[in-house]
Amino acid sequence: MPLLHRIARTDHAPVAFTLDGVACEGRTGDTLLTAILCHADKLRDSEFLAAPRAGFCLMGACQDCWVMLASGARVRACATELSSGMDVVTRCGERS
């Protein structure tokens, strides 16, 4: 069950990305956080307690929304624009 629910911008052009190996679609104008949380209910598991996290402030301050890309790069999902072909890994210890 996704965490976020779209109520506007539903007809914008689709943008393809991959979430834990599964092909997904976001919309033009999405942040990476929006694109992920319209499909899933978390962004990552926390480092020490492995508890699910899904962002908090959405304005680049709390640093709760870091996600890992398959390339190994770590990005702040709330401040990163979704771009076509992004490959996101949200589960601990998994690398494709």
């Binding site: 976020l4 109520i7 942040t31 908090f56 401040a79 624009e81």
Partner: protein, 466 residues
């Protein structure tokens, strides 16, 4: 042509935009850096892609102001340098390090206006790290900038005008708002009567929003305490106490905030002197009525200096720019100064009223359960903090950070700092001002390690390619 470097404005919210405008009107060409994709700050945040929603739908009663600000700033485009998606992460000796376009730019500036804005202030409650709990600001951003609701059945918790504003915006967007839980007793709202002669529009707008919420079936509960958010892997339920009784409500999204806290890290790096501010219950950079800080050439404006709201931020931004012009020996509209300062004094009195009507429940820090996380980044619980305070006889916040790692994580204490200070003050029976403040370290936010080693020559005249 002047040999002097351009002034630097940090932040493109209402304060930064107005400051930049006043500098441009005086013939200067400032560089404006801002972290967001688009100008506007938080309250006037623009969606990255326009959608079918009107300005009225996005900004409600503030639509006219938002449109005016955005148009005004866009009209300056070829008379200033504006770097969006740019993080100013270090400041020293008139030079700023800015992460932008995948590289680092080192920029020399002459005159610095810090309009860094604010974030939500929170205190930890059980379950506050669960997916589906967002700050009030974040809850609003999801809707305004991304056209998304944080749940299908949302509860709003906290204090401050933003609590009712965001709940009302969700209602207007067609989202089910199950309840508004106000941490202040209803009687505190009587203070708003004092606000009527000062700011009738603000008070009436707030009352109208509350009335509309109730009319459309949203329960408003006052004087709630002992908040607990429950759920296994995401928000499922909110539990609270009210007049001695336990209550609960099913929900799948929660907007939470206890007022705002200024972003002061850059003022700290710039060497500005700080003082403890009783109203904001925080250490803030010193400034005079014009916005001049304790450091010559550095000016402070907007909520990043002291919480006063968006209208005051516009005026403080312009006022700070006029001070910069005066200090630079340039002509400026001296006639504007008195009007701006009069408006700012009025805004300050309005803020006193709002703070009385929406008091920050600092006393909650006494009740934070030992197993509740205090620090989200390093995952340090309140109990671990209490043990560290007792075991090492800690009395000062930076010592608590060094021993417990609270405030040492990625957010650098932005989220947990206010709560950690309250908790330390309680545990050691000290005044909140006596426990000190977290020292700022560069980088003020995480940046890729490679950036710190790449130093391109600065070219403040050209916008970087994206």
């Amino acid at each position: 042509m002047s040999e002097r470097a351009a002034p630097l404005v940090v932040g493109a919210g209402p304060a930064g935009m107005r400051a930049a405008q006043a500098l441009v009107e005086a013939g200067l060409r400032p560089l404006v850096v801002d972290e967001a994709q688009a100008s506007g700050g938080q309250i006037y945040r623009q969606p990255p892609q326009g959608d079918d929603r009107s300005a009225d739908a996005l900004y409600g009663s503030e639509a006219a102001k938002a449109v005016r600000l955005h148009r005004g700033f866009a009209a300056l485009a070829d008379r200033l340098d504006y770097w969006p998606r740019a993080l100013l992460w270090n400041l020293r000796d008139g030079v700023a390090d800015i992460a932008v376009g995948g590289g680092n730019r080192r920029v020399a500036y002459d005159g610095l206006i810090l309009a860094t804005g604010a974030t939500d202030r929170v205190l930890p409650v059980p379950g506050w790290t669960l997916p589906g709990v967002f700050t009030l600001g974040g809850t609003q951003i999801a809707l305004k900038a991304q056209g998304c609701a944080i749940g299908r059945r949302v509860v709003f918790i906290g204090c401050g005008p933003l609590l009712y504003l965001v709940a009302w915006q969700y209602l207007k967007a067609g989202v089910a708002v199950a309840a508004v839980l106000d941490t202040a007793p209803l009687a505190r709202k009587l203070h708003l009567l004092r606000g009527m002669p000062l700011a009738p529009a603000i008070v009436l707008r707030g009352l109208r929003m509350a009335a509309e919420l109730q009319l459309r079936g949203t329960a408003i509960h006052h004087g709630v305490t002992d908040i607990r958010i429950e759920g296994r892997t995401r928000v499922e339920r909110i539990v609270w106490r009210q007049r001695g009784r336990d209550k609960s409500l099913a929900c799948d999204g929660i907007g939470y905030g206890l007022g705002l806290r200024p972003e002061t890290q850059l003022a700290d790096l710039a060497g500005c002197a700080f003082r403890f501010d009783r109203r904001d219950r925080a250490w803030l950079p010193e400034r005079d009525v014009s916005g001049r800080s304790s450091v010559p050439g550095i000016y402070l404006a907007g909520d990043g200096a002291r919480i006063a709201g968006a209208d005051a931020a516009e005026r403080a931004g312009e006022r700070a720019a006029l001070a910069l012009l005066e200090d630079r020996g340039l002509p400026y509209a001296a006639s504007r100064v008195a009007a701006l300062e009069r408006d700012l004094a009025r805004s300050d009195r309005v803020r006193d009223v709002l703070d009385a009507a929406f008091p920050y429940p600092a006393h909650w820090s006494r009740q934070i359960a030992d197993d509740t996380l205090l620090c989200r980044c390093e995952e340090v619980s309140a109990g671990e903090a209490r043990r560290a305070i007792a075991e090492f006889s800690l009395t000062e916040l930076n010592r608590l950070k060094a021993i417990s790692r609270i405030g040492m994580g990625r957010c650098q204490g932005r989220v947990c700092g206010a709560a950690a200070a309250e908790l330390l003050a309680r545990e050691t029976a000290q005044d909140i001002a006596a426990v000190g403040r977290l020292r700022t370290q560069a980088p003020v936010k995480p940046i890729p390690f490679t950036l710190t080693t790449s130093n391109e020559p600065h070219e403040p005249r050209h916008a970087p390619a994206h």
